[in-house]
Amino acid sequence: MKVTLFIPCFIDLCHPNVGMSIVQILEQLGHTIDYPEELTCCGQPAFNSGCWDEARDVAVKVVERLQDAEVIVIASGSCGAMLKVFYPELFQKTGCEQAAKSVANKTFEFSDFLVTKLGVTDLGARFPARVTFHDGCHGLRELDLKQQPRTLLSHVRDLELLEMSEAETCCGFGGTFSTKFPMISSAMGDGKCASAQETGAEYIVSNDSSCLMHLQGLLDRQGKPLKTIHLAEVLTSS
């Protein structure tokens, strides 16, 4: 299958390993990767700030480039939700409405693509650690991703998954919210980290690097030993 890969801006800049891991996994499974280098952002920061005109100007490039793709895989539940759920609304009653719907229909978040579309659950990974999983809100509630990442984790050798009580509670990132209301955002993040720590896990795993970037930032500032890692990186460990 020819898989068109969408790598969100924060992964490109700060967490390129996540993208590399996804490339490695998909190629090992025998798929060809098409990576549109000219695409950087889905437009969500502008969209979430109410600046829908600016968001559309960015998103239209994505829609135009991706509308003819066979299948689109995106490395983040949040950006995935933007493409799958919010593009059809953003382009309602515009010339791109149909193209946006077609993009939405063939976009898959990475773990969903593996488990639901390909039926792949075991990638032969080994990750000897205690981990807890953080459900990113957009992935969980907009895309209904609950079991997919857990199914993948359950097949990783030597990995112990310890569910935290607040797995489904927002970590407080929320895009521009995190800098507009830093104290609320951080208070929420502290709650998340405390819940993760209670499990005795060494790592917080998630399928959303944006949440992890926020949590890692808090943990580093507070000098806590807990680490964060993206699901794709766990799946390429051996």
Binding site: E37, S49, M183, A187, G189
Partner: protein
């Protein structure tokens, strides 16, 4: 004068760092969650119950004119006086006029959020009337001269010890941490008030169009006494409270109890359909129903967000909201706190003054997931943000996103910015987290992520 947005920022910053307050909210809501889940499982299918409830409210709200007409006609046919108030001022005037024309002095109230909305207590006190709240939580916050902290649990921010001290200070009673004793203190004070009150003011949980009745649901029995003992009963309710048929209560009463408090059914459920009839021996001599618009019709005109009028004020969205749980109820500065408050307050009280509440959300969607009448709450926060920008763009934000658009749409410019960013990184260490840091919004509590030596785009290009 402090604007709502400044006040919000100040209060939110303080509250978010107040670990004691957060612990108090956590403990106050801890049993709610378990109880709520247990009660939901008592429904044959909670999800289809939500769907049915949403459809009934959709009918009620989309045919509001017909249902309200029917409701008012039925009420009037049994001797109730129905009043229509367009705004806060009219509602206050109507209520004051009823009280004056009855030569009343003493007023008892059961829990009525629309009363908070129109600031009825302040108006009554200013007019030198004696007004007492009879709901225990409302009684406590009235003694503290503060607004309810949560529109279902008004005093959930207080510990027993604080309530005991309050009673000791205001009522001269002995200190006690025994919840039953505290309730008895309030009851002793309130029993006298019920008997001497001339007017009882209540709200309504539902307005039944078919039979012309208001439905009140409560746990303390105080609303029954408020509505039945004084010779005049005034019910103040928003026009969106309508349910088309009496049998709709069979779904809505258990649903409200479940979502609101994790109860199978609230302890007392009463219907009021008119004043004392000629063949009856008790009940109020006069029954007035005041129907409040106060910009609800504006929300009704908004096709996209009209479903916000489905709200049955159960408070479930507050209880699960991580923002509410981090900043508490008073920070909102509104009658209706939490997600539903953030959605409707800009409509009720002005978009530009209250748009910050819609921004103060991570859009996690926990509210939408629990809403029993399926209001698309977190998406409406997005809609409010968009509407605020269309209505009155903020130039700084516009500029910010114009730059964002240029950078994201021009790969060469993006690469250039990445290079500049890399060069700036070592310099950033000098100001990291300080007041001089341009990224302080992030760095005052978090370490800034570093730009990788090789971005994904670099990796891809090198690979080719």
């Amino acid at each position: 004068m402090t604007t709502p947005v400044h006040q919000f920022h100040t209060d939110a910053n303080r509250a978010a760092q107040d670990l004691q307050q957060r612990a108090q909210i956590q403990s106050a809501l801890s049993s709610y969650e378990t109880a709520c889940e247990a009660r939901k499982s008592a429904f044959r299918d909670w999800e289809s119950a939500r769907q049915t409830a949403a459809e009934i409210k959709w009918d009620a709200v989309n045919h509001l004119d017909q249902h309200l007409r029917e409701f008012a006609d039925k009420l009037e046919s049994r001797g109730t006086q129905v009043h229509w108030a367009s705004n806060e001022q009219q509602a206050r005037d109507i209520i004051l006029e009823i009280i004056r024309s009855n030569n009343a002095h003493s007023i008892i109230k059961s829990k009525v959020m629309t009363g908070e909305e129109i600031h009825i207590n302040e108006a009554l006190e200013k007019a030198a009337f004696d007004v007492v709240e009879s709901d225990l939580g409302e009684f406590i916050v009235q003694l503290r001269r503060e607004a309810p902290y949560h529109f279902v649990f008004p005093a959930m921010h207080l510990k027993r010890g604080e309530i005991s001290e309050l009673f000791n200070r205001e009522l001269g009673t002995a200190l006690t941490e025994d919840p039953e004793e505290l309730t008895m203190i309030a009851r002793r004070v309130l029993r006298d008030k019920y008997i001497t009150a001339d007017v009882g003011i209540s709200g309504a949980n539902f307005a039944i169009a078919e039979t012309g009745m208001i439905s009140i649901t409560e746990n303390e029995g105080n609303a029954r006494l408020t509505c039945a003992l004084p010779k005049v009963h005034i019910a103040l309710l928003g026009i969106e409270k309508v349910l088309p048929r009496l049998r709709d209560l069979a779904l809505f009463l258990p649903m409200l109890a479940t979502a609101g408090a994790g109860q199978a059914l609230t302890c007392y459920n009463s219907l009021y359909g008119g004043p004392r009839q000629p063949d009856e021996c008790d009940g109020p001599e006069e029954f007035h129903v005041v129907l409040l618009d106060n910009n609800r019709t504006q929300l009704l005109a908004d096709k996209q967000q009209r479903d916000a009028l489905h709200c049955i004020r159960c408070g479930a969205c507050l209880n699960v909201c991580p923002i509410y749980r981090s900043i508490g109820g008073h920070t909102y500065g509104t009658t209706y706190q939490g997600p539903i408050g953030s959605v409707i307050t800009p409509h009720l009280r002005g978009l530009q003054d209250w748009k910050h509440l819609s921004s103060a959300s991570s859009l996690c969607g926990a509210c939408t997931q629990v809403c029993p009448v399926k209001i698309d709450l977190h998406h409406h926060l997005l809609h409010n943000r968009r509407n605020a920008v269309i209505d009155k763009p903020v130039w700084r934000e516009k500029l910010q996103f114009a730059i964002f658009r240029s950078v994201m749409n021009r790969p060469k410019l993006y690469r250039f910015c990445v290079r500049i960013g890399r060069l700036m990184q070592p310099l950033h260490r000098l100001v990291d987290g300080t007041r001089l840091d341009p990224a302080r919004g992030w760095t005052q509590t978090r370490k800034l992520p570093r730009i990788a030596p090789q971005t994904f785009k670099d990796f891809w290009r090198n690979r080719k």
